[in-house]
Amino acid sequence: MLGLSNTRTGEEAIKKFIEEASKAKREVIILFVSDDRFPKALSTWLLYMGFLGVELTEEVKEVLRNELKEKAIEKIEEIKRSLAEMGIPYEVIMKEGNFFEKLREVSLSREVRKVIVPREKEVLFGRIEKLPEDFPADIEEI
């Protein structure tokens, strides 16, 4: 399974996922979690600085959330094309909420063996979430 979120879309991990999927030749899952942490952190930070009113900050947050989601969906479309070309069956699951919580939920319910997740990049306005230690499948962060 490939775990993506609006702040986790790194090319390296996607490349590795496609490579492994082509070797395994079995159904793979692409999970996308719309994670509110980054837009929320930016919005809080702007208010914290004391420069924007509540409404403006909410507007920025909303626009940003949609944009990040849209960018991730663009990326999922590219992955879907690559998998289809190689004849690998896939399923796309979309969720909202905390990235690792949703990743855990899907891993358990679908008995996933291995999970690849791109590394989180944005560090300026929020805290990078570390890999959970007791994850129900092999998890690799690239």
Binding site: W45, Y48, M49, G50, F51, L56, V60, L124, F125
Partner: protein, 461 residues
């Protein structure tokens, strides 16, 4: 990286606390009164809190206002009266006017009109975003311009084909930030640091600077920096980008918005009236009076309701400025500002020219890491201390610190427009650093040029 940043923050706060108690219990510093000694302690403590954002900037402002009378630096009555500075009311009025511009849709219409005019080619489109954000920031706070134009710029980027977006997208957002930042230094409406500096100037020297005088000093600088940014755009040459459809999209959007609404007409009228007063009647009406009367007029004309003000105006900001003005005034009054300047910057402060070069350079550098207003709040009182020793015109030294402190081009943490544009995810820190450093150097040189050859003709010596 983040862990070490957290550690640095903790060290800065600890240093602030240590300095506070050091100056509080120090038996005596030569040339500094007891009140001056205590205000130095408060300065370092507040500085550490403003730099690290350990508590909201506004609460640090309140904390300062509470500490000054508590520790006997100034009597309560005098401390609280400093809070009544006209600049605070100017900022409040300017924020309410900007809320009117956004809520009525007038600002968005102007943005679409301007961008539509510029979008014949990709270079024109980039220049369009740059010029539009810059010109809007002449009339409303730069952070509001960036927040308002952010969705418009995103829309534009969506009109581009995917490969075009990859080549031009990063510049689109970077130039949105640059335009807002450049325009923000032009008039007192563009950012809060100019009103704060004008307030400190009035408090310290009783010197009144009106809207027109400030703008005459700063508009040519903003336009020159804008030209540098435009030149940078002209050197770009991404292959295979042909943009012809953006102007049509902008036109379609304008058609969708329809004719000028009654709210937009009323807002235009109020803004026009305020602008006329700021520019032509500045001798008779104070700029803060104009701002608050114009803000009130928006209510009489039913453009804004109280709920809009609650939503669009961040009241905390007023407290931050209040605290900054009180602390700044205290530092200069007690001689503490002079002591900081002499103790830390003596080798660089031998002549008025070296003061000009040193303070403008420090402001350009510091503002990349600190919010613009915090930069002015911390540096201007120290610069006043030096100006008093060397007999430099206070207005000149105010410009020397305030104008460069608005020009943060590199880091997202320097100013809200950068943070908003960076959050688009279209570019990384490396991209904005590489291009921003060139802008920092160019704008500093432009400020030096105007400081030497232009400001003195207007009394700034």
């Amino acid at each position: 990286v983040e862990l070490s940043l957290e550690k640095i923050k903790k060290v800065i706060i600890l240093a602030g606390i240590v300095c506070f108690f050091f100056f509080l219990f120090h038996p005596g510093i030569e040339g500094v009164t007891r009140a001056g000694k205590v205000s130095l302690g408060i300065f370092f403590l507040a500085g550490s809190l403003w730099i690290t954002n350990a508590i909201p900037l506004a609460i640090t402002g309140l904390f300062v206002i509470g500490l000054i009378p508590l520790l006997g630096v100034l009597p309560p009555k005098e401390t609280f009266s400093l809070f009544g500075n006209g600049s605070i009311f100017f900022i409040l009025g300017a924020f309410i006017l900007s809320a009117g511009l956004i809520k009525s849709g007038l600002a968005r219409r102007v943005a679409l009109l301007l961008i539509g005019k510029f979008s014949g080619s990709y270079k024109q489109l980039l220049i369009g975003v740059l010029v539009t954000s810059c010109l809007l920031a002449f009339f409303m706070p730069e952070h509001a311009v960036a927040a308002m134009l952010f969705p418009v710029t995103l829309d534009i980027s969506h009109y581009l084909k995917i490969d075009e977006r990859r080549k031009v997208g990063a510049w689109l957002f970077l130039l949105l930030a640059w335009g807002s930042v450049i325009g923000g230094v032009a008039t007192p409406l563009g950012g809060a640091r100019a009103p704060l500096a004008i307030g400190l100037l009035l408090e310290e020297y009783g010197m009144r600077v009106d809207f027109l005088k400030w703008s005459l000093m700063c508009v040519p600088i903003a336009l020159s920096i804008l030209l540098v940014a435009i030149s940078r755009v002209l050197t770009l040459n991404p292959k295979g980008v042909e943009i012809t459809h953006i102007s049509e999209k902008a036109r379609d959007e304008l058609v969708r918005i329809g004719k000028l609404s009654s709210l937009e007409k009323k807002t235009s009228f109020v803004f026009f009236l305020a602008f006329i007063c700021w520019v032509f009647l500045n001798r008779y009406i104070d700029m803060a009076t104009v701002a608050i009367l114009a803000a009130a007029l928006l209510f009489f004309l039913r453009v804004l309701s109280w709920k809009d003000i609650e939503n669009y105006v961040n009241w905390g900001v007023i407290l931050m400025y209040g605290g900054a003005i009180v602390l700044g005034a205290t530092l200069v009054k007690t001689g503490a500002a002079k002591w900081i300047a002499i103790s830390f910057l003596r080798p660089f402060l031998r002549t008025p020219f070296s003061v000009f070069v040193t303070f403008s350079l420090i402001s350009v550098l510091v503002t990349e890491f600190l919010s613009n207003v915090a930069t002015v709040a911390l540096l201007l009182p120290i610069a006043f201390g030096v100006a008093n020793v060397l007999g430099i015109d206070p207005f000149f030294i105010t410009l020397t610190v305030t104008v460069p402190s608005g020009l943060a081009f590199c880091l997202p943490i320097g100013t809200p427009p950068n943070a908003i544009a960076f959050s688009s995810g279209r570019y990384g820190i490396g991209f904005s650093m590489k291009n921003g450093v060139l802008m920092n150097i160019s704008s500093w040189l432009i400020i030096l040029f105007f400081g030497i050859f232009y400001w003195p003709h207007f009394g700034g010596r």
